[in-house]
Symmetry: C2
Subunit: 314 residues, 2 copies
């Protein structure tokens, strides 16, 4: 087995493929009103780390290696899902930023969608991104050397995984809990409620990304269980680090207004556990994720991605 | 072959099944925050004719009869999709009613979602309904006597059909065109643009309903083409009748504020073609739909449903 390429090179090549595929997808919507595709494009191609698509591709590669897929096949089976999850993530940012939600005017260093396109078109661009994610997931898809019917079954499972991760028991549910906690007069979240809110709002889609990639590569049973546990751990690590960055005021790294959660009186990991203990917790999550992978003999870039998630906070 | 049951009895039995399945689905979301399921329930179980679910089930039955399914199998393969399309339709109503869109305060004789739950929760309830539609479509589904893998492939096709019908080239695209036409200073829509807007905003999902039902029953090729043409015709008939009802001020029948489109200066079929010609056009669409069915030997309730759609205007 050849040595792994360094994470940076791996990410950079995969990001290029995802950006190109996203661009092709938007360009394929020729029958849509130009106003809506322009608004979709504005938010979708605004840069960003593409963490979730990278997780889809890394999980597909790690599981695919064990299941007889070569790296090209592993990427090909999972690329549409990698794009789809970025559509879902982007829609959630547009809707979260709306005046009636978090009322944010800046995102990734640029004015938010409703500032640029107006509220109505921002809502509709979000709706379109969410809907088109499922077009992408369900498109007829053939990959050389992979049974078409087996792949169709896996695609259907990926639809279910991502719909559940994004829906009422997942991401949307988490946003509702967040709104309720921020309402005037609401009791502050305790540790358990904070973790439960984040597990839904951020964690569910991160776990869903890894699960969808693994599923599309053909993973089942114990391999899926390991990927699921990995996803839960790094989802939590990601949120803790996000909270730390918010406190440390690293607006540039965060790509949004720092200190905002603290200013809004929202509970964060540092506000509940302190900065030192928050860093320790995030590192423990990463250790847990890496141990889980090792136990399941899952290699590839998943461990490096877990470390990358927390490296942001140093 | 036994005589068809009268449409009313057929609809009434199917509606009961759909209402019960929708209720069971909402009740299954036990891990979701109660606030979001309550908001979903408020709009989803608000009555209504359930036209789109009825089209899913009628198309499945009509095609299934030719493909060796008995009526119970035809209903069983299509019931989750019948529910899913009502979730999609309901989400679109909630978002259309928002202050930044049509700013409607009444719907089906009750205050709209954002009036009752606030704007943020209304947006999120809509997002959840749209997302959960795909959970429903992709759920593992077994029907006695139907090959599980074949059904999974058809489910994946139904996901694609409904995502395309609801997305940027379909319903959301139509809503964007509608918004643009209603903007201050916008040129009034001509006949072609009006038809194109409606084909997306209302027509795409109505056609998608019929196509999804047919697909889940196993239809392919010419049968799908006939169902598609049928769906286009009754989608247009439905919109013309809706416009006629708006002019005639039949608020009770319409379930929303009548005269609103005319008051907003929106072009309608009666405002462009006159009332008499609009009625003739709607009737011609129904004739066309019925002829298409007959040519493809498709029986069942589809023809009766086409007539029911326009009967509302008399």
């Amino acid at each position: 087995m050849s040595a792994l390429p360094p994470l940076d090179a791996w990410l950079s090549a995969r990001r290029d493929h995802v950006e190109a595929a996203l661009d092709r997808f938007l360009a394929s919507l020729t029958e849509a009103p130009p106003a809506v595709t322009a608004a979709m494009r504005y938010s979708l191609l605004a840069g960003g780390k593409r963490l979730r698509p990278m997780l889809v591709l890394a999980a597909s590669e790690a599981c695919g290696t064990q299941l007889g897929l070569d790296p090209e096949q592993a990427e090909a089976v999972a690329l549409p899902a990698a794009c789809a999850i970025e559509l879902i993530h982007t829609y959630s940012l547009i809707h979260d930023d709306l005046p009636s939600m978090d009322n944010d005017s800046m995102r990734r260093g640029r004015p938010t969608s409703h500032i640029v396109h107006g509220e109505a078109l921002a809502i509709l661009a979000g709706d379109a991104l969410l809907t088109e994610a499922f077009t992408l997931l369900a498109r007829e898809h053939t990959v050389d050397g992979v049974d078409r019917r087996a792949l169709a079954e896996r695609q259907l499972r990926a639809v279910r995984i991502l719909a559940e991760a994004a829906g009422a028991i997942g991401m949307v549910g988490g946003q509702v809990l967040d709104l309720q906690a921020a309402a005037p007069g609401a009791a502050p979240l305790d540790r358990t409620s904070l973790a439960a809110m984040h597990a839904r709002k951020t964690g569910a889609l991160i776990r869903g990304a890894a699960l969808a990639g693994a599923t599309l590569a053909g993973a089942d049973g114990p391999m899926i269980d390991a990927i699921s546990a990995y996803g839960v751990s790094i989802g939590l690590a990601f949120q803790i680090v996000d909270d730390i960055l918010d406190v440390e005021g690293a607006s540039a790294e965060l790509g949004k207004t720092a200190g905002k959660d603290a200013a809004a009186g929202k509970p964060t990991y540092p506000s509940i556990y302190g900065l030192h203990e928050s860093r320790r917790l995030a590192a423990a999550c990463v250790d847990e994720a890496v141990t889980t992978l090792a136990r399941a003999n899952l290699g590839g870039q998943l461990a490096a991605i877990a470390r990358w998630v927390t490296a942001r906070s140093h």
